[in-house]
Symmetry: C2
């Protein structure tokens, strides 16, 4: 029984230093609203607007710290609102992904690529990975119970001593399984 | 191998005769835009707005024919937009479900109950049910392949000689599985 925390990951963006300056002004620094479970990661107080050919989504959270490459992680529901076709990718893997415009209070950035739907994944410490019998670059299945019980396959495994052990799903996935709040699943 | 068509069911409402008259005017009749796969069911040309404590969703399709009881079938994503908490229910089972306001061109209806998230279900003919080995009031599992492969449990079985054999999922579920267009799954 490999029980694991399952957390919903709402739409968000990661910004590069250069794009932060364009969107919020030169010298601007992200403010920290609260820490996320993954050590070092935080929800900032900053919001941006995403715009595609069909529509916009306002008040999208910026997560910190800054990254080398700007990216927007949205659900397929969001992608439909925006009018873009997003591939399913792990965070950071944005080559050839969808274009999107990001607007902040000081300016806007037209990303030629960078919009993705997050590939569901398991963050796990090396100790837990050994206990669970899972290895990097593999996929596992996640079983959740309830009125919309289901088994998610194709959950990517990401191992690091800097991680907190948990599964990240997007809100299409959380909703499809009828999950909210603090929930646990089982790694198969 | 029990392959079955899987169709996404977008948010929609079913109206009673009385509520149709309030929303669209006395004597109004639904127009038919196109037939749905389930015999006798159709997408009308009429649209309504749904409103909850947090927000509204415009241009929600009205499906025909008329029903005895008005109901709104929305996704959990929609429910969050509206600010209501919907139970997961089969169509027609609205007792104690969520309140929602429906607005049409001629008036509005405040439903004390009637908003639900659709319980995923398999419409199936008696002949197919026998071939698939499934029976009424049971649930089955649906396996779908792809980059977001998964197995949906708790798929309710509804048998009628008037049905076209297919599974209905809502768009949270379609998106969670990365499905769009004409897709097939396997009944387990």
């Amino acid at each position: 029984m490999a029980k694991v925390l399952v957390e919903g990951s709402a739409r968000h963006v990661h910004l590069s230093e250069k794009d932060l300056a364009i969107l919020f002004g030169s010298g601007f620094r992200l403010t920290k609203k609260r820490d996320l479970l993954q050590p070092g990661e935080f929800l900032s107080g900053e919001k941006v607007t995403l715009t595609g050919p069909r529509g916009s989504i306002e008040r999208v959270s910026v997560l910190g710290p800054l990254r080398k490459v700007t990216q927007a992680e949205v659900s397929f529901t969001d992608a439909r609102t925006l009018g873009i076709e997003v591939p399913v990718r792990l965070s950071g893997d944005v080559a050839g992904s969808a274009p999107v415009k990001i607007t902040g209070p000081a300016g806007e950035v037209e990303l030629a690529e960078g919009a993705v739907a997050a590939k569901r994944h398991l963050h796990i410490t090396p100790a837990d990975a050994e206990a669970f019998g899972v290895s990097e670059r593999k996929t596992v299945s996640l079983r959740v119970e309830g009125v919309r019980a289901m088994t998610f396959d194709e959950v990517s495994v990401r191992i690091s001593p800097n991680f907190y052990t948990e599964v990240h799903l997007d809100y299409d996935e959380m909703n499809a399984a009828g999950l909210s709040g603090e929930v646990y699943g089982e790694i198969l």
